[in-house]
């Protein structure tokens, strides 16, 4: 009883309603609120970072999908074009690129602005148009030979400077010398605008053409194909090797020093900076094996080694998660260990393995640094058709454009980033979808 009463005494000594205790409680709740506030603020600041990244890419990039065109009446002068009707297809293919479309634009401009005579002025006027405008004229001839001798109203691609002006990225306010467009050019542009001859549309060529020194002509198609070829090599190597070694380590490997070594090694390899893999690729694949520089083959091999640990680790986790009862049942029915693995364990762990592989591939798709080491930064216009041809990839294209001083490349960079992010989101959603689908089946 004495014990009990002393306990009571002790408890009664603390007066929970006293000011002291109330203050203490208040302080504790205050700390709770402050702490929670900090925690929320932290999470919010992380989300703000995400928002800033996405918003600034979107704001600068959305105009990159638009292009400016100038309407002009082009006279398909037979003297310039030549006689197309008598030519064979092969001759046409050779002749068409040599047509002096520049002269046709000059003639059209002379007709439109009769009082412009000096060469310098015509030259300035010509600079309102992209060099791609000539290709457009030639292509229209290639598609329809009957145009010869006729005057065709064409919407020709404007130069990047005009494009920037129309999009409001070049200010009219600044003085002439600091502006890429002269006052004279501005007058002509205003005249075109008044006549409604400047139109904006969707920039299809951004998706169909390769790199270019002219921002208005630059596109992501060859970089996209380069990325796909590189990823193909990466996948073909890292998937079987990664899954194979995961199976071995998880199901067959005896517990000994050697397998411990492999395990530690894989975990450490996962944290090696990507640029080190670039150095490896440069030293081994290019210098010693003498594989072609800038080729998706080398890029893919390098990235395969880089993604290998990711795939092994996730595949092992997926294999580990298969219930032992299934394996035991299979072995009990007379299946060999190998049969159990390939017929029971692997199909069941496939969703996990696929998810891991897709995440590894997404990582490889966004990687830039190791590819800089192996020469994928050259100026490459053509779309690669095999894995040994020179190619560049999307993130490297982003890097190259981001470094270009021309103002027109800024929006192209952001637009290319948007496409890259879209690919990454698609891949990740695919991973999630796969996981769900397989989970349902089970």
């Amino acid at each position: 009883m004495t014990d009990n009463s002393s306990d009571n005494l002790y408890i009664s000594k603390v007066d929970w309603n006293s000011k002291e205790q109330k203050d203490r409680l208040k302080k504790r709740y205050l700390i709770e609120r402050i702490f929670k506030g900090f925690a929320i603020a932290s999470l919010l600041s992380a989300l703000v970072a995400l928002f800033v990244v996405l918003a600034s890419v979107f704001i600068t990039g959305v105009s990159g999908f638009k292009e400016t065109r100038i309407t002009l009446d082009i006279n398909m002068d037979e003297r310039i074009v030549g006689d197309l009707s008598s030519m064979s297809d092969e001759e046409l293919r050779r002749h068409i690129p040599s047509i002096n479309a520049n002269q046709m634009i000059i003639n059209a401009l002379r007709e439109k602005f009769p009082n412009v005579t000096s060469r310098r002025e015509i030259f300035e006027m010509l600079r309102l148009f992209s060099v791609g405008a000539q290709t457009e004229i030639r292509n229209s001839l290639l598609n329809d030979h009957n145009l010869i001798g006729e005057t065709v109203t064409m919407n020709l691609k404007a130069s990047s400077d005009v494009d920037m002006l129309i999009k409001g990225k070049i200010s009219r306010e600044i003085i002439e010398g600091d502006r890429k467009i002269s006052d004279q050019q501005l007058q002509w542009i205003d005249q075109f605008i008044q006549e409604g001859k400047i139109i904006q549309g969707f920039n299809w060529s951004f998706f169909t053409s390769g790199d270019s020194r002219e921002p208005e002509l630059a596109g992501i198609w060859s970089a996209t194909v380069g990325s796909l070829l590189t990823l193909l090599v990466t996948f073909v190597i890292s998937f079987p090797v990664g899954v194979g070694s995961a199976i071995y380590l998880e199901e067959f490997a005896p517990r000994n020093r050697f397998t411990d070594l492999i395990e530690i090694n894989i975990n450490n390899l996962a944290a090696v900076p990507s640029i080190i893999f670039g150095l490896l690729g440069l030293a081994i694949f290019i210098n010693i094996m003498e594989l072609p520089r800038s080729a998706p083959l080398v890029g893919g091999l390098t990235l395969a080694l880089m993604t290998l640990p990711t795939i092994i680790i996730t595949a092992r986790a997926a294999i580990k998660a298969v219930p032992p009862s299934i394996k035991e049942a299979a072995i009990g029915l007379g299946a060999s260990k190998m049969q159990t693995v390939f017929h029971q364990v692997l199909p069941l762990s496939m969703p996990g393995i696929m998810t891991g592989s897709i995440i590894g591939m997404a990582q490889a798709l966004g990687e830039t640094a190791p590819l800089l080491m192996i020469g994928m930064v050259a100026f490459i216009v053509d779309t690669p058709s095999s894995i040994t041809e020179a190619a560049t990839v999307l993130p490297v294209q982003v890097f190259l454009w981001a470094d270009s001083p021309e103002r027109g490349f800024l929006e192209k960079t952001s637009a290319a980033i948007m496409v890259l992010l879209l690919f990454l989101i698609i891949m990740n959603s695919l991973a999630i979808w796969l996981r769900h689908r397989f989970e349902k089946k089970q």
Binding site: P97, R213, I288, M289, P292, F379, V381, T388, A390, D403
Partner: protein, 345 residues
């Protein structure tokens, strides 16, 4: 490495397995070399790809020296066909080429280019004498008749008329032809203003060259790699810095950067082509004759480079800032290129 031959064969095997027969020749021109010529050769490459049936050449910026080194490494698919250079090939490089079996090299002069010292338009426009440039950038300088390590940290210490800003120059590395030409014209021009240096020239030419051409290494001169675009970007980011590069990059970016006066003359198209602006040099393209038969399109590429629509007064190269060859000189070069006349040792 000791296993080199074996690993190399494995490499060839990998290529073989990747759906390409080994024997198949490259059908795409590969160009390396000067970052100064890079904007011109890419423009020509692009137009060449667009207006002919050939594949667009792959152009990589490696610097004139680096390019010639790769170019001279040998004949065959793994070696570049063309190298750009912002200086003439040196005799040591011709020897290197010859020792690797690259015997016939065609030299094509494509134009002139000025070397400018530029800064951001946010800062004030500067005016240098060649002497200022040498005093600001050399490793050792002459002070009161004595040769001492460069003590200057601020431009106004070099010349009171220059602003009180830290000497911070972004320039090309030794692989660059711009660096060579800059040393030979600007730095040497500045250091020969001193009689004691001039006296040294007669006595000990090597010592003279070392004194005049060696650039300081204490961080005031920053080697910015073979990417002149990057230098322009860095200048915009840092208005106190000065960049050294070819005129074309100034022309391309005239809305954001400005060229400094040198010896009282502004770097402009006319000043450079009239040779009033002192720091200017010729640009070259070198072609491996042995490749002309095996890689398609090399001759056509040269023709495109020297054509009227590229080289003419209003050609697309002039638009990019190349100062074209005067008509009579162009004719000689075109003739030389047409007949594929190669350099003599």
């Amino acid at each position: 490495m000791f296993k080199k031959p074996t690993l190399k064969k494995i490499g060839i095997g990998l290529v073989g397995l990747s759906m390409i027969t080994i024997a198949e020749a490259r059908d795409q021109i590969r160009i390396v070399g000067s970052s100064t010529v890079f904007p011109f050769s890419t423009a020509v490459a692009e137009e060449f790809g667009r207006s002919t049936g050939f594949k667009t050449p792959v152009v990589e910026s490696t610097g004139s020296g680096g390019g010639l080194k790769l170019f001279c490494a040998g004949v065959g698919d793994n070696y570049p066909d063309i190298t750009n250079s912002s200086r003439a090939i040196k005799s040591s490089e011709i020897e290197l080429c010859a020792s690797n079996g690259v015997k016939n090299v065609i030299e094509v002069k494509v134009g002139y280019d000025g070397i400018v010292l530029a800064n951001s338009k946010e800062a004030s426009q500067l005016s240098f004498s060649l002497q200022d440039i040498w005093l600001g950038l050399a490793k050792d300088v002459v002070v009161n008749g004595e040769i001492i390590p460069n003590p200057y940290q601020y431009w106004n210490e070099v010349n009171p008329s220059l602003p009180n800003s830290k000497i911070e120059v972004l320039g090309p590395p030794p692989t660059s032809g711009t660096r060579d030409a800059f040393a030979e014209i600007a730095l040497e021009g500045g250091c020969t203003a001193y009689p004691e240096v001039e006296a040294l020239r007669a006595k000990d030419n090597n010592r003279f060259k070392a004194l005049c051409h060696t650039i300081r290494e204490d961080g005031a001169y920053i080697e910015a790699g073979e990417n002149d675009n990057l230098i322009v970007g860095k200048l915009l980011a840092n208005p106190g810095a000065i960049g050294v590069f070819g005129y074309s990059f100034l022309e391309e970016n005239s809305d954001v950067i400005q060229g400094s006066f040198v010896e009282g003359h502004e770097p402009s198209f006319d000043n450079i082509s009239d040779k009033i602006y002192q720091i200017s040099r010729s640009l070259f393209v070198y072609v491996k004759k042995a490749h002309i038969d095996s890689v398609p399109g090399i001759e056509e590429f040269l023709n495109e480079f020297l054509s009227e629509k590229a080289m003419g007064d209003f050609g697309y190269l002039a638009e990019k800032g190349l100062i074209p060859l005067p008509a009579p000189e162009l004719l000689i070069v075109q003739n030389k290129a047409d007949n594929l006349i190669s350099l003599k040792n």
